[in-house]
């Protein structure tokens, strides 16, 4: 009699365990606090976490935090919406239309690697030192990863599904809506993650020029004044912003990709 074959499926499904995530962060902060207290790290090099926490509380109480966050968030949202929106449109065009693909791919390949920070002085000339240059910096940063992720996603859609839809006689627009877009969605959502992270990174760069308000401007000013507790507090705010955005995208994923289960 042959032995029954044991079930070998399962695995390859890493789950996020919230407790582990929180514990990891807690251990990191505790180690930092210990290193500061023991004098291994000079307060000039890195302020102890207690001072950073005090600075954060002071910022929040005085209403400064809300003011800076509001300024940065409005730039972030409008820059990201413009950049990522255009990225989706261009990415879809590249993924679906030969002419757009031939024209768009080399342009993206040529422009994507340019550090947007290097273009900042030009943005100032083109868009001035007001809001436009700041939104433009963030939009340019978010555009490229979104466009690349979108056409990559469209390219990766299972061709047999498209052929099947064609053999059922579906019109092109319907195929795009019912097969291509859902198929490309996972790639587009991970592109959104990268685009959002780049947008947050670029907040500091965007607020280098002529900004008095905003988390980036606050971090720069704290750095200029060597107020390291406030500088790290500002960085913590950016980090929390990153976590929040990542959480929002995660929530969107679980709703939009329900069909994959």
């Amino acid at each position: 009699m042959a032995e029954p074959v044991p079930f070998r499926g399962g695995g390859f499904q890493p789950r996020a365990r919230r407790l582990v995530a929180v514990a990891t962060l807690a251990v990191l902060v505790a180690g930092w606090s210990l290193a500061s207290r023991a004098g291994w790290v000079s307060p000039i090099a890195l302020p102890p976490p207690e001072e950073v926490a005090t600075a954060l509380v002071r910022l929040a109480r005085s209403g400064e935090l809300a003011r800076h966050l509001a300024a940065s968030l409005s730039r972030l949202v409008s820059g990201f919406a413009l950049g990522a929106g255009a990225g989706v449109v261009v990415g879809l065009a590249i993924g679906l239309v030969s002419l757009a693909r031939s024209a768009g791919m080399p342009v993206i390949a040529a422009l994507f690697p340019i550090p947007k920070i290097a273009l900042l002085p030009l943005f100032v000339v083109w868009f001035g030192i007001g809001e436009a240059s700041k939104v433009a910096t963030i939009a340019f940063g978010a555009f490229f990863p979104m466009a690349v992720a979108t056409y990559g996603g469209v390219d990766g859609v299972d061709r047999t599904l498209i052929r099947m839809a064609q053999s059922f006689g579906l019109p092109t627009l319907s195929i795009v809506r019912k097969v291509v877009l859902p198929g490309a969605l996972p790639a587009m959502l991970s592109g959104t993650r990268i685009a959002a992270a780049i947008a947050i990174i670029l907040i500091v760069a965007a607020e280098m020029i002529g900004a008095n308000e905003g988390i980036g401007a606050f971090i720069l000013a704290a750095g200029n004044l060597m107020q390291t507790d406030q500088l790290v507090a500002g960085v913590v705010v950016l980090s929390v912003l990153g976590l929040t955005v990542s959480g929002l995208i995660g929530a969107a994923e679980s709703v939009l990709l329900r069909w994959r289960r």
Partner: protein
């Protein structure tokens, strides 16, 4: 046999390095600015060599990293303008001010106040017109920020009514003024004159017309003072000689109190400074530019100590310097005799 010859070689090397030690090295950090002229003159004239010192210059692109490099011990001494960041770093115990750099002094050009063509056309003609206008600065807490704060105090307007625009760099400031994106700048003399001469802006006054102040300093770290005080004393002595040469050649006033350059005295000194500040320009052009950018420097590198106390108090009042910072703790009066205006 082989071991013995190796030992002999090591001994010879030890003797050689012993000989080199007689010429002790001091690593100095600075910007390529005319305000550091005294240091460059002292090097060129060999004053450090006379004291048995070899000065190794490290040039930086911005002021703040110089102070940070002194704190971290990467360089032994540094020279920059005072900023809010400098005072915070000094207050944390990382820096000691030991001698003077440049100073804003009546009768001598220093930083200038420039107004954009558009703002000038609309009637921005004097310092009192600042309220309701924008001013480009490099960074929060920079010397330009301090200077507009003092102009506001002297002319009695509220600093909050001036919109400050941090633009990070001098070229960005000049570009923003030329394109009328900011209404005014307070900026170093050579840039101000260039912009005004090209018709890109209007020069409405010199900062030194309204106020005098200790612009910057020579500083080191407490560790350095503890470990190499004698070396620092030699360094400051040579530096003071450089300041003396600089002052006698570059800071002459005529009978009417106007600054004049005697080419026989000023040109060689300006030429020495030009080698460091404008290394890519032909010597004659560099010399001319240095003369146009000369700040006042005390002939004995004495500090206006009371003014430094005043600066720290102003930065504190603006919330830019921590309340715990005490100027007494970060100024070491022991290296230069006769500092002026020392608070009791």
């Amino acid at each position: 046999m082989a071991i013995r010859s190796i030992l002999a070689g090591v001994a010879a090397l030890a003797c050689l390095s012993g000989g080199a030690l007689a010429q002790e090295t001091v690593v100095a950090g600075a910007l390529r600015f005319v305000s550091n002229g005294a240091l460059f003159v002292a090097i060129e004239k060999g004053f450090f060599k006379e004291e048995g010192l070899e000065v190794e210059l490290r040039f930086f692109q911005a002021a703040q990293p110089i102070a940070v490099a002194v704190v971290s011990g990467d360089i032994d001494v540094g020279m920059t303008a005072f900023t809010g960041g400098f005072y915070n770093l000094a207050g944390k115990g990382g820096l000691k001010v030991i001698a003077a750099q440049a100073r804003e002094k009546k009768g001598y050009e220093g930083n200038a106040v420039l107004v954009s063509n558009a703002a000038f056309a609309k009637g921005f003609r004097k310092i009192e017109d600042f309220p309701g206008h924008s001013l480009g600065i490099t960074q929060v807490g920079s010397s330009f920020h301090y200077q507009i704060g003092q102009l506001a105090r002297i002319k009695g307007f509220d600093l909050k009514r001036v919109e400050l625009k941090p633009l990070q760099s001098l070229p960005a400031m000049a570009a923003a003024l030329k394109t009328n994106q900011v209404d005014a700048l307070i900026i170093a003399p050579h840039i101000a004159k260039g912009l005004a001469a090209a018709g890109d802006a209007h020069l409405i006054g010199w900062y030194s017309d309204f106020d005098e102040y200790q612009f910057g300093a020579l500083f080191t770290s407490p560790k350095m003072i503890e470990a190499r005080r004698a070396t620092l004393e030699k360094f400051v002595r040579a530096y003071q000689k450089g300041a003396g040469e600089f002052a006698s050649a570059m800071l002459r006033l005529d009978g009417a109190g106007k600054r004049v350059f005697d080419p026989a005295a000023a040109d060689p000194i300006a030429g020495m400074i030009a080698k460091y500040v404008y290394p890519s320009d032909p010597p004659a052009e560099g010399t001319r530019k240095v003369k146009g950018a000369t700040f006042y420097v005390d002939a004995q590198a004495r500090l206006d100590v009371g003014d430094i106390h005043g600066q720290v108090a102003w930065y504190k009042s603006q919330g830019m310097v921590d309340a715990a910072v005490d100027p007494k703790a970060f100024i070491d009066l022991g290296f230069v005799k006769g500092h002026t205006n020392v608070p009791r």
